[in-house]
């Protein structure tokens, strides 16, 4: 578990470095000119795959090792299996995936750039992860499952279904039809893998760190099921005004609006659960997931509106969308993942923990994220305006330069934040996190946390 956490932070740093280089290349395009593997396109592939699979994938797995035993009262299936999953994920997926992409062996599909040979290992690792974690949930029966457990189950099962669809189908289904499947995956990658795992962490950390049960189990389950019903139906909104049948586009746009409503339910429940923790919670894990919840609200309302034709027309293909995806992956998902790691670290007696560094990480990451989002959103509006006005194309590139400059500068706080996070979880005295928790809210045995992480019905029944 610890290993996944460290791997997560290392891959985060590597992926962020890729991201910073591509941001700089938009300003100084001669950067890396004579080195094929340093060219923009290849680094761009490595950046997003690294963030999604390397950083978030590892961080989520790390959290599962902490969360699943508490949620289910059962140990995970096997330690040896854990070593296998770790090895596969990092040395059969991440390392070869990056090397192949940088060497020019890849597929030009958004969120699916690792080549097919790597996809095989992704699916295998996901299967093993399902074997590792899923049986724990069935040991006690479904009726006592807390919402985090549902999200984890849903995430594991549906990623296993959607990953091959997004990574393999477009290779065998041509053109516009293949794009229809790609569109589904672009959304499912975020909606059925990243979102459920991030929400599982948020729903776990809030009651565990605040020592209060969540506001409403009913709303949590309503939100969960609506999310799993609606998320898959969103995909086609990535190709509005395309040749894909209008009925499918309109269906996806409608589902997007409904999804926005669902997120309002989820976020309301989460914020009500955080009542009393303060605007900036003292507990660092809680602070990260609180900010994550806020970003989730913003990114989802934004997503629901930019799927609508009038907005889509103005901002599609622009940096607005780049801002949106950073808000999702960096704002919502990365804050949740960081919160999950910090929370788990606080509860490992031998883990090093440096609260100062983690506090720095939080504020730097928040600053970088907010500035980047605002900057790219404005850049997108400027580009969209110039395109609509029929200005010569190059003017939209020239006009973006200052915005790209600011975006590149946000690399400084963000890289600082990621380094601080790594420092925070690898330096400092062993067990400092645990002592901090003891001092503030006092430690509690697992069997006292567990009831709060179960639906009301189960608590009453027990």
């Amino acid at each position: 578990m610890h290993a996944h956490g460290i791997a997560a932070l290392v891959t985060l740093l590597v992926s962020a470095t890729f991201g910073i280089i591509v941001a700089l290349q938009l300003l100084w395009p001669e950067l890396g000119r004579d080195t094929a593997w340093l060219s923009w396109g290849r680094l761009r592939y490595a950046h997003t795959q690294g963030i999604m699979l390397g950083w978030l994938g590892n961080a989520f797995l790390a959290f599962l090792y902490h969360g699943v035993p508490i949620l289910t009262g059962r140990p995970v299936t096997s330690r040896a299996l854990g070593a296998w999953i770790f090895g596969l994920w990092n040395f059969a997926v991440m390392v070869p995936g990056w090397l192949l992409v940088l060497a020019g062996i890849s597929q030009p599909l958004e969120w699916a750039e690792f080549p097919l040979v790597v996809d095989v290992f992704v699916v295998l690792a996901l299967l093993l992860a399902a074997v590792q974690f899923v049986p724990c949930f069935f040991a006690r029966g479904l009726e006592s499952l807390y919402v985090s457990s549902w999200y984890i189950l849903g995430g594991l099962v549906f990623t296993l279904l959607s990953y091959p669809m997004g990574n393999i189908v477009p290779e065998v289904v041509a053109g516009a039809s293949g794009a229809a499947f790609s569109g589904l995956w672009i959304h499912d990658a975020v909606g059925l893998f990243v979102t459920p795992m991030a929400l599982a962490i948020i729903y776990f950390v809030i009651p565990a760190a605040s020592r209060r049960p969540i506001y409403s189990h009913f709303l949590s389950m309503l939100g969960f099921w609506l999310l799993f019903f609606l998320y898959p139906l969103n995909g086609t909104h990535h190709y509005v005004f395309s040749v894909i049948p209008m009925a499918a586009q309109i269906g996806a746009i409608t589902a997007s609006a409904l999804l926005g409503v669902d997120v309002l339910i989820v976020v309301t429940n989460l914020f009500l659960s955080m009542r009393g923790s303060g605007f900036v919670p003292r507990d660092l894990g809680l602070r990260f997931v609180g900010m994550s919840t806020f970003f989730y609200l913003v990114v989802s309302v934004q997503g629901a509106s930019q799927a609508q034709m009038a907005v889509n027309q103005a901002v599609h293909f622009t940096d607005w969308v780049v801002g949106h995806s950073h808000l999702a992956m960096l704002g919502f998902a990365s804050f949740a993942a960081a919160g999950g790691l910090v929370h788990a670290w606080q509860r490992i007696a031998w883990a090093r923990y440096n609260a100062r560094a983690i506090t720095w990480a939080f504020w730097l990451m928040t600053a970088g994220m907010v500035i980047m989002f605002v900057d790219l959103t404005i850049a997108g509006l400027v580009q969209g305006r110039l395109w609509a006005d029929g200005a010569p194309w190059i003017e939209s590139v020239q006009a973006t330069r200052p915005y790209w400059m600011i975006r590149a500068l946000t690399g400084i706080p963000l890289a600082g934040a990621f380094i601080a996070l790594l420092v925070g979880l690898t330096t400092g005295p062993r067990g400092a996190g645990l002592r901090e928790v003891e001092a503030s809210i006092g430690t509690e045995p697992v069997d006292e946390i567990a009831p709060r992480l179960a639906p009301a019905a189960a608590v009453e029944a027990s």
Binding site: G41, S106, G175
Partner: protein, 415 residues
């Protein structure tokens, strides 16, 4: 608590779980499988019976395009939106993508859409641009792909040739199918009036503002022009190839065949400059600049004219005049026409139009040099084998004599 609510809860979870999977299946069915069926059908009905497959070289070029992430800055999807159509042309139809494994639609457009890239740029322009984008387009942020070349834009390696071969297929199938193809698609569309209007069969198939046109009216440029603005625009957009002083020696010039015009050595009439700026020069790397406002084009024309080096025009001795006329009549009229209008009987067969000397005048030096060396990359051949030095000089004087001055009316047929 009794077991009753427990069982109800369990049942509801089972129902919800089944529904969850069902919704996922539904998403694949309704947003993946069903569109595929519709698109396959549409593709079959609206597309040509036989779509030219990619050549082996273009197929390899597509792999280069994919691996370098070109699709992450250049979309290949013209949407059913006026802003897209005005800039790039007809929206992408399903059949146009039916050989795309996998699709390269893209989600971000930093550079222009490439759906209809075929016929918009010359091959040598592509090489120069891929080798060093900013040597051609100073404000470009495109990465340089020098690794595909042996150190110079005119020494492309196979991968660069493949990539350009691929670029030159983009939108080709639709273009080759038109207008019969458009008629067939329109008929087979079987769509409502709304959809028909959306599919914009009536608009330009390829609306690229830089695409050169061989014969086309050019709008008259505004009379007054801002020379400072013209110089600024020239510096931003023209100097890369034509050179800061108009000698045709800018950083992008290397690798272009024919070389960019040496503006300093020519005088141009206003309508010639308007024509070149508005329509480009067919068969060369010179693109059109139709996305610019006429005031800007007029300003550029003014700046170009200011580059011309003044030259004395000494009177030509009579015997030279006669000799020049005779040499021209015997050797040049096939292409350049009886009156030097560039409309000889062979002109239409050539890959690019012969000079119309009424609308542009080379310096004497330049004319003699061209007669001696020809112009690489054009049908203009060296004449030293056929003509003596005296004849070369005489005919150089002769062609210079046709020029009608800067404000010549757009007379004569340009072919």
């Amino acid at each position: 608590m009794s077991g009753q609510p427990q069982r109800a809860l369990r049942m509801s979870y089972v129902v919800a779980s089944v529904a969850g999977v069902a919704f996922f299946v539904m998403s694949v069915a309704l947003l993946g499988w069903w569109p595929k069926r519709v698109l396959d059908e549409q593709s079959r009905a609206m597309g040509p019976e036989y779509v030219l497959p990619l050549s082996e070289s273009a197929r390899r070029g597509r792999v280069v395009y994919s691996r370098e992430g070109c699709a992450y800055c250049h979309t290949q999807q013209v949407r059913y939106l006026h802003t897209d159509m005005a800039r790039f042309g007809a929206p992408t139809l399903a059949w146009e993508t039916r050989l795309d494994y996998p699709h390269l639609w893209g989600t971000r457009r930093i550079g222009p859409d490439l759906t209809r890239a075929a016929f918009t740029r010359s091959t040598d322009w592509h090489f120069a641009h891929l080798f060093s984008p900013r040597a051609v387009v100073p404000a470009s942020v495109m990465p340089a792909y020098a690794a595909l070349f042996d150190g110079a834009p005119d020494r492309p390696r196979q991968e660069a040739r493949d990539l350009v071969a691929y670029l030159e297929t983009l939108g080709r199938a639709r273009e080759l199918a038109a207008p019969e193809g458009e008629a067939r698609a329109r008929e087979a569309c079987n769509c409502t009036d709304d959809e028909m209007a959306m599919m914009a069969f009536d608009g330009a198939l390829n609306a690229h503002p830089g695409r050169a046109r061989r014969t086309h009216e050019a709008p008259a440029l505004p009379r007054s022009a801002d020379l400072d603005r013209g110089r600024q625009l020239y510096g931003e957009h023209c100097a890369t190839c034509h050179g800061a002083t108009g000698q045709g020696d800018g950083p992008g010039a290397r690798g272009l065949r024919p070389a960019p015009a040496s503006l300093a050595e020519h005088e141009y009439s206003t309508d010639r400059l308007a024509d070149v700026l508005w329509n480009g020069v067919w068969g060369t790397a010179m693109p059109a600049w139709r996305d610019r406002r006429p005031e800007d084009l007029a300003a550029i024309a003014e700046a170009v004219r200011a580059l011309t080096r003044a030259e004395p025009n000494p009177p030509v001795p009579d015997h030279m005049v006669e000799l020049g006329a005779r040499v021209f009549r015997e050797n040049c009229v096939q292409c350049h026409g009886d009156e030097g209008l560039g409309n000889g009987p062979a002109a239409a067969e050539l890959a690019m139009s012969p000079s119309n000397f009424h609308r542009q005048r080379p310096s004497l030096d330049r004319a003699i040099r061209v007669l001696r060396n020809g112009i690489d990359g054009t049908p203009m051949a060296p004449w030293t084998a056929r003509l003596s030095d005296a004849e070369l000089i005489a005919v150089a004087h002769h062609v210079r004599g046709y020029y009608e001055g800067a404000s010549a009316a757009p007379g004569g047929v340009r072919r």
